[in-house]
């Protein structure tokens, strides 16, 4: 209430007050050559600042309320993210009776590994996982090497056609893979060395030439990172007689390790779950993204009731991402560091 009053006083231009202000301002500004600002406006500003300092600062109760609100938001979102995985984890340990039993909540009454065993068999889990891991490793490795090199090239060198080249890199991100799918398929199907479909080679070749999955994004990230590094580092290396490659490998790369781990993590996990090239380039390859669909397709599984199908699909999708979650938990330290240190500029 009190604050409203002061606001009102300032807003209603009482003559007495105005004269007082003018006097005050004259005494202040007579020796200045600058014209004094509009006195009413000046007073309003002062008043507004005072009011704000009193009421909009985050001390005491306001601060406390803010902390509570922040906790609710952060906790709520974390819960929303984790909850589906928790449900999937619980469901995968239920027995066929548990999933239809409406009294069973989170703790399975009987409990069995029935769904896990069934999912492992139908997905051909171990073979498929090994293949997927190999494919993702190969793709992520090639992607990492290429995007680090190209990103450095874009960040530190001037050459004719650089902007056009960078524009093309961004264009590869924008143009959907479906657009180039048919000629891509024909290239690899009738490759001069033989039929390359249903092998790892298409992915490896694409990754090595910087055209892999979201490679443009990684190049962009790397370029931004290297641009943020101080130039003095390289200059001192050059002065000490190191060549461009030596500088790159022994000065720039060690500093970029966190960013490289982040990019490797992204490339690895996104390749793991990717379905862009499945139907055309390797429909018969035994990788998880192909075999996991057996769960919903095979006649044996379709025959059982929908609840069981759902439980099986949940178990299968959890098994699919379990290795990824483990990889992420191992790599998260470097990942979080890369967020924190990407602003190396000071």
């Amino acid at each position: 209430m009190k604050n409203e009053d002061t606001m009102n006083v300032s807003q209603s231009p009482a003559e007495k007050k105005e004269n007082k202000i003018l006097k005050f301002l004259k005494s202040k500004f007579t020796f200045h050559f600058k014209k004094p600002r509009n006195p009413i406006k000046a007073l309003k500003e002062v008043d507004w600042k005072r009011w704000k300092r009193k009421n909009l600062n985050l001390n005491g109760l306001g601060r406390f309320a803010y902390i509570i609100l922040r906790f609710i938001i952060v906790f709520g979102i974390c819960f929303t993210i984790i909850y589906p995985y928790i449900v999937k984890g619980i469901v995968s340990f239920m027995s066929t009776n548990d999933i239809v039993d409406s009294t069973v909540m989170f703790i399975p009454r009987e409990g069995s590994t029935y769904f896990i065993e069934k999912a492992v068999v139908t997905m051909e889990y171990w073979t498929a996982m090994l293949n997927t891991a190999l494919l993702s490793l190969a793709a992520a490795g090639c992607t990492l090497i290429v995007s680090t090199m190209v990103g450095y090239g874009f960040a530190r060198f001037k050459f004719i056609g650089k902007n056009l080249l960078f524009f093309m890199v961004i264009l590869t991100l924008i143009i959907p893979a479906q657009t180039i799918m048919i000629p891509l398929y024909s290239r690899f199907k009738w490759f001069f060395l033989g039929d390359l479909t249903n092998t790892f080679w298409p992915i490896v070749i694409l990754a090595l030439t910087g055209l892999g999955l979201k490679n443009g994004l990684y190049i962009y990230m790397m370029r931004q990172f290297f641009r943020g590094m101080p130039k003095e580092l390289e200059m001192s290396a050059y002065i000490d007689g190191a060549g461009h490659f030596r500088t790159f490998f022994s000065i720039m790369l060690p500093n970029a390790s966190n960013m490289m781990i982040t990019i490797f993590l992204f490339a690895f996990t996104w390749q793991w779950t990717d379905t862009t090239y499945n139907t055309m380039l390797f429909p018969k390859l035994k990788i998880l993204t192909n075999t996991v669909l057996n769960v919903t397709k095979t006649a044996e599984n379709v025959a059982v009731d929908t609840t069981q199908q759902q439980a099986l699909a949940d178990t299968a999708s959890l098994l699919l991402i379990l290795p990824l979650l483990l990889v992420f938990l191992v790599a998260q330290k470097y990942f979080i560091q890369s967020i924190e240190r990407s602003g190396l500029v000071e």
Binding site: G76, C78, L211, L217, T273
Partner: protein
């Protein structure tokens, strides 16, 4: 020191400077060589070939490849008028994307600011926030759209007393009524309701954007904040006068990334439409015409966003 500098200046002929530049530009080509080869040998020829396919009739010759026969705009005509479901799908999915784009950007910006603050359990929160970025892409996005036990949980069919899932935390129909009456505007309320019901989708698809904003916030020099503090700025002022202008260039990056990401997502209906045509295999020329139309739509959209937002952004230098 200065004498030495002068001497080297006098001694160094102009040619030496040029050759250094030339050397630099040579190494620029060396470092970007993989992508130059990729673009020149694979990407551009394939792109042109795809364009040719969309204008012709494809017949498959066993063990050799495709044989093309020029047709003109026939495929595009078919794509737009015969295959009438496509145009509708593209328009509908594009319109459905619009509110999502803004919600994702605002959400990512907001959450990046929160994650940038100091609080207990920040590291754990950061790890959890980025789980969806790593995990729920590609096939997982499709799996999440399929029926799962989670639906049973959240619909209350399995157990009514568990209000666990995000959608079941608040009774959705009740919420719907509150929001519609509060906003008094059917368009606005449908956007807000869409955002709430798609909360999980928004969280999962704003991870990279959050990452970009967060690294931008980390990159702001501490000196600026200290100077503002000395001058007596409040947290609110610091946010709008320092944090916001400093990371505003990233808004453009994020906007464009969001647009591309949403347009190319595996569960986008237009993408699904094209994928089905590709998997079908009998009308490959039609599929390439469809994908070229879609490509043009995306390019147009990205161009519009770029033109609109570029003017609003403050660059530091």
């Amino acid at each position: 020191m200065s004498i030495q500098a002068k001497q080297t200046k006098e001694k160094a002929p102009k040619r030496a400077v040029l050759s250094l530049e030339r050397k630099n530009s040579f190494f620029g080509y060396i470092f970007t060589l993989p992508i130059i080869i990729g673009l020149a040998v694979i990407y551009l020829p394939i792109l042109i070939q795809s364009l040719v396919y969309s204008f012709s009739k494809i017949t498959i010759v066993p063990k050799q490849g495709y044989l093309t026969e020029f047709l003109g705009f026939q495929n595009y005509y078919n794509a737009l008028y015969v295959e009438e479901g496509f145009l509708r799908t593209v328009i509908e999915s594009t319109i459905a994307l619009l509110p999502q784009i803004f919600v994702i950007i605002i959400f990512a910006f907001f959450m990046a600011n929160i994650l940038n603050q100091e609080f207990k359990g920040r590291t754990i929160a950061r790890v959890i926030f980025f789980i969806p970025v790593v995990v729920s892409t590609g096939i997982m996005a499709q799996f999440e759209n399929m029926n799962s036990m989670l639906d049973l949980y959240s619909s209350g069919e399995k157990m009514e007393m568990v209000g666990g899932a995000a959608s079941a935390l608040v009774d959705y129909t009740q919420l719907q009524e509150i929001i519609t009456s509060a906003l008094n505007n059917p368009n606005m309320s449908s956007i807000v309701l869409g955002a709430i019901s798609g909360l999980y989708g928004i969280i999962t698809s704003s991870g990279v954007q959050m990452l970009v904003f967060l690294s931008g916030l980390q990159g702001i020099s501490i000196n600026m904040y200290e100077a503002a503090k000395v001058e007596g700025a409040t947290g609110w002022e610091v946010f709008w006068k320092i944090s916001f202008p400093m990371i505003s260039p990233l808004i453009l990056v994020n906007l464009i990334y969001t647009v591309i990401d949403l347009f190319l997502k595996a569960d986008n209906e237009a993408i699904n439409f094209i994928n089905n045509k590709l998997a079908d295999g009998s009308q490959l020329e039609l599929a390439s015409a469809l994908s070229w139309i879609y490509t043009l739509v995306i390019l147009l959209f990205v161009g519009i966003v770029w033109m609109l937002v570029k003017k609003l952004i403050v660059y530091q230098d």
